[in-house]
């Protein structure tokens, strides 16, 4: 700009210099606007990764509720199921998840009683009844909803083999053949990461 050399009085030189600089600035602004637009698009699509490690009846709910709700927000959602969390995706086992009565401070009975045979089944039945009365969705409904709305429900391959499960044991639409590296990759790209 002309301020770079205040003693120059040749207007012509200044104008030429300004035009070139102006063009460079315009190009730069355009470039920045383009990259800003790209950043904005990235912001709109939030990403969430949940790692589900628990397979008890009560612990199956939080990841599924959060995942299906996040999908309703239009987010890109991955739930990586590992260890006991795998049972949530296991078609047969998911219908028979149990609530543990022992070591559960929310149970109205002492641990010594909770440890008696049949107590887990009773606690589970009580909870199921409550869920039914309250109009809360079943685990199967939440899985169907999640898959329908584009949630990527993943079953850890190492755990599938560890538990002697077969890939066909899982709900249709469940992703198999994935491991910790895939989970980490999704976590690194996510705005929200949860371990349940």
């Amino acid at each position: 700009m002309s301020t770079d050399n205040p003693t120059t009085s040749a207007d012509e030189t200044d104008t030429e210099f300004d035009a070139a600089e102006l063009q460079a600035l315009r190009d730069r602004v355009e470039e920045l606007e383009e990259s800003m637009a790209a950043v904005d698009t990235g912001d709109e699509q939030k990403k969430m990764t949940i790692v589900a490690t628990q397979g008890s009846f009560d612990m199956a709910y939080p990841p599924l509720i959060l995942a299906s709700t996040a999908a309703a927000f239009g987010w890109d959602v991955v739930v990586f199921h590992t260890f006991w969390g795998l049972d949530i995706l296991h078609e047969e086992k998911s219908r028979d998840l149990k609530l543990s009565a022992v070591g559960n401070p929310n149970m109205p009975v002492p641990n010594a009683v909770a440890a008696l045979p049949g107590m887990d089944a009773m606690a589970t039945r009580m909870m199921q009844k409550k869920i039914d009365e309250n109009g809360t969705a079943t685990i199967e409904e939440l899985i169907d909803l999640s898959l329908e709305s584009g949630v990527d429900l993943q079953a850890c391959q190492m755990t599938i083999e560890l538990m002697d499960y077969d890939e066909d044991d899982f709900y249709d639409g469940v992703t198999t053949g994935v491991g910790a590296a895939t989970a980490l990759q999704h976590m690194a790209e996510s705005d929200i990461q949860l371990l349940v």
């Binding site: 509720i65 299906s68 999908a71 309703a72 109009g135 969705a137 709305s149």
Partner: protein, 81 residues
């Protein structure tokens, strides 16, 4: 307040609890056209806050109004794009 909106469709989620009112609202909105207004009738008292949060965090929808009448919570959601 009563319904002064031209509602295109009504979604009945009475008796259903979280996350169903939100998930079903999203599905119903997906089936509508821009400019349409969806009326959501719920009994879940959490739906007031949840529908607000969902509408705020979701592009292409606008929450027009929420009416509380006893045990009924009615929400009016417009699809904007």
């Amino acid at each position: 307040m009563s319904s002064e909106y031209q509602t295109t469709e009504t979604l009945d989620v009475k008796g259903q609890s979280c996350p169903m009112p939100i998930v079903k609202t999203k599905q119903a909105i997906d089936d509508l056209e821009a400019g349409d207004v969806l009326e959501v009738v719920a009994t879940d008292s959490g739906s007031i806050s949840d529908i607000q949060g969902w509408a705020d965090g979701t592009g292409g929808v606008e929450l027009l109004d929420q009416v509380e009448d006893g045990d009924l919570y009615t929400h009016y959601v417009k699809k904007t794009e």
